[in-house]
Symmetry: C2
Subunit: 163 residues, 2 copies
């Protein structure tokens, strides 16, 4: 069987695909997830527990990955993400959060007061949302290749939108 | 770290979620992928090579999984799918397909003439499309839980559609 890394070199044309000039490629999305692992999910959770609403989270840098991913391969980024995510899960468990902790509030720089529970739910939903973006971007690269089967695959049609 | 199976029992409410009465849950989607592995992707590829356009593919049973998955756990289905997919890849490689083979035609019962290349591209796009369906269904279960972050997560809003 192929390991995850084995398949990547051949798929470069896919993982660098983008749906438009302002859209992110799967490669860039992985870089964005790495930046979230470093600066958003666990750091903000710890900040909620430490300072509450007293000061807003530092803003999230949505373009950091264009700098940080430069010169790296997708395989390197995936390995790095897997390691950082493992570390995040260890840190999350070490917090030993209670239901009452999930009601504690922090302050988002744009959204205002948010609870720790909402923050952790968003971590999950954000993962899912970017998986969706990746598979849509990759799938649309096959819009021609599937021929008449596009009739059964609405995701491949640009007019289906981005949601 | 959690293994894939460890996380599943707690997530049952998620993997049985559906977006509406006629929509499939993630659990049902995995059953559908299993049925495709058994009756669609490799069997139809072999049929194209064997009989070409002489006879149409047998129709695909889109509700087989309601019967076949009954009484099984999601962990069992995922293990079965992983095994069947591995076997499919072995069989695909054993075909040692050439570029000329990819132009060979079969006959779809509804779509008419299709090439082997289109069929194999559809296999991939079909996977991606169902991953998208699964993450959308799971993500929308968190529409309330994320609180104000829904503003940044259009996938979680039902009006965003299904594509």
């Amino acid at each position: 069987m192929l390991g995850p890394g084995d398949a990547i070199p051949a798929a470069r044309v896919w993982t660098d695909a983008r749906e438009g000039p302002e859209r992110w490629s799967p490669f860039e999305v992985v870089g964005h997830l790495i930046h979230g692992e470093r600066t958003d999910w666990i750091p903000r959770a710890e900040m909620i527990l430490r300072v509450g609403e007293a000061e807003p989270f530092p803003p999230f840098d949505r373009v950091a990955m264009f700098r940080d991913s430069a010169g790296k391969s997708l395989g390197e980024l995936l390995d790095l993400f897997a390691r950082l995510r493992s570390e995040s899960v260890v840190r999350l468990r070490a917090m030993a959060l209670t239901p009452a902790d999930l009601e504690r509030r922090g302050r988002h720089p744009e959204l205002g007061p948010v609870t720790l529970g909402q923050h952790l739910a968003t971590w999950v939903a954000h993962d899912l949302s970017h998986i969706r973006q990746i598979v849509r971007t990759m799938g649309r690269e096959y819009a021609e290749a599937v021929g008449p089967w596009t009739a059964y695959l609405p995701m491949l049609r640009p007019e289906a939108g981005e949601a």
